[in-house]
Symmetry: C2
Subunit: 221 residues, 2 copies
DNA sequence: GTCTATATTGAGATAGAC
DNA sequence: GTCTATCTCAATATAGAC
């Protein structure tokens, strides 16, 4: 009945170990280096030996991306315990992406290849998109409650736009790494009138002066 | 020396014929149906017979997308002779995309798969992105000159955002066809304060009344 | 649990006849 | 110019030994 847990302790550890290595291989070697064989070699297992832990190539790569999300959430904000300034963390995450071209490529390709309903990773990505939009919406509602973006904006629609921008900027960036993804997201945030976080609670009611809300435009690019 | 032109008249016609058929196959059968064999069957040629006109699968698919752009430009605005209202044509094009899922998928996949510098279609997409941004920038500058978007916006940055939105919305749409891509683009355009086209030139200075520029928010979704 | 070795599949490229 | 038939190649899945 161990199948109920699905994995023995040792398997769990090994699995995790494989994912860490795979993540590194992809990040370093790029998407082309991301073949089952390459990863198996890096882990020091045979192809079959490694696939045993995941079942198939698709499942393995799906898990790589899942693991990456986990790491990103940990570094850039856990959805259950959102950081103090989630919108900055989002921008940081975008900025971080520019350091790991291989992972960006892996994500872009898989998310597009899995679009067909019959694809084994279809449901994973579908849910992931729903989740991103939901997180985005929550964060934006929070900003709205804090009076940092105008009350007439629709957080749900903005969340869709942010998710689209994130994906679309990555594609353009892959063709031109001089494009500054984070700067473009920041430009968008300024467009919607995002106000900087008010310094904690200093005596003076600072940062919310009577200048309405439209601020200076983006400087870059 | 016929190689200078590269093609005989008959070849040119056949080529065009193949592309039209291929376009239909992809649009109808989806990306999965877009195998060399499937297209060759639909055209009534053998795989080799057909590939003879293009050289390779990559080149064929690249040409399919190129031909599609041609058709879209013709229907939705030629870049050399921009239509009276290019921004509406852009939105129309997005709306039109929702009618041809197979082509959207083909485009999304190829544009992501070709991101590696070594890929045969890399240059094609790289140039296509540059061109889209350039067209976008020109259109936005025009809107700015006509006082239909605020003067402090940066057309170049907005062009990048529009291209990213277009791509990113398509990806999300593939996972949820109830997402209205055109409506989201329109929402973005309202966000940046786009004013409706002034009715040609009626005596009354209408449509540019003193309401500043921020208009009502998007209604949908 | 892990390996080696093999099978299978699928696509695309090529050669040479008609 | 076009077809038939064949080849190569890569990649993943599977069978069965240790």
């Amino acid at each position: 009945m161990a199948a109920a847990r699905g994995l023995y302790a040792k398997g769990v550890v090994k699995r995790a170990e494989i994912l860490e290595t795979a993540l590194q291989v992809v990040a370093e070697e790029g998407y082309s280096g991301a073949t089952v064989k390459q990863i198996a070699d890096a882990v020091g297992l045979s192809q079959t030996g490694m696939l045993h832990y995941f079942g198939s190539k698709d499942a393995l790569f799906r898990e790589i991306l899942r693991r990456r999300d986990e790491i990103n959430y940990a570094s850039f904000g856990d959805p259950d315990h959102p950081p103090a300034e989630p919108i900055n963390h989002f921008v940081d995450l975008i900025r971080h992406n520019a350091m790991v071209p291989g992972l960006v490529q892996l994500y872009s390709r898989l998310s597009n290849e899995s679009a067909e309903p019959a694809h084994p990773s279809h449901d994973y990505f579908q849910e992931r998109y729903e989740l991103s939009r939901q997180i985005g919406r929550t964060v934006l509602e929070r900003l709205q409650a804090d009076d940092r973006i105008p009350p007439d904006l629709d957080p749900a629609q903005l969340a869709v736009l942010l998710a689209a921008l994130s994906d679309g900027l990555q594609t353009q960036w892959m063709y031109d790494q001089s494009l500054d993804m984070a700067a473009h997201i920041e430009y968008f945030l300024r467009l919607i009138g995002l106000q900087p976080e008010a310094s904690p609670p200093p005596a003076e009611s600072k940062g919310r002066s009577g200048d309405g809300r439209r601020r200076s435009r983006a400087p870059r690019r």
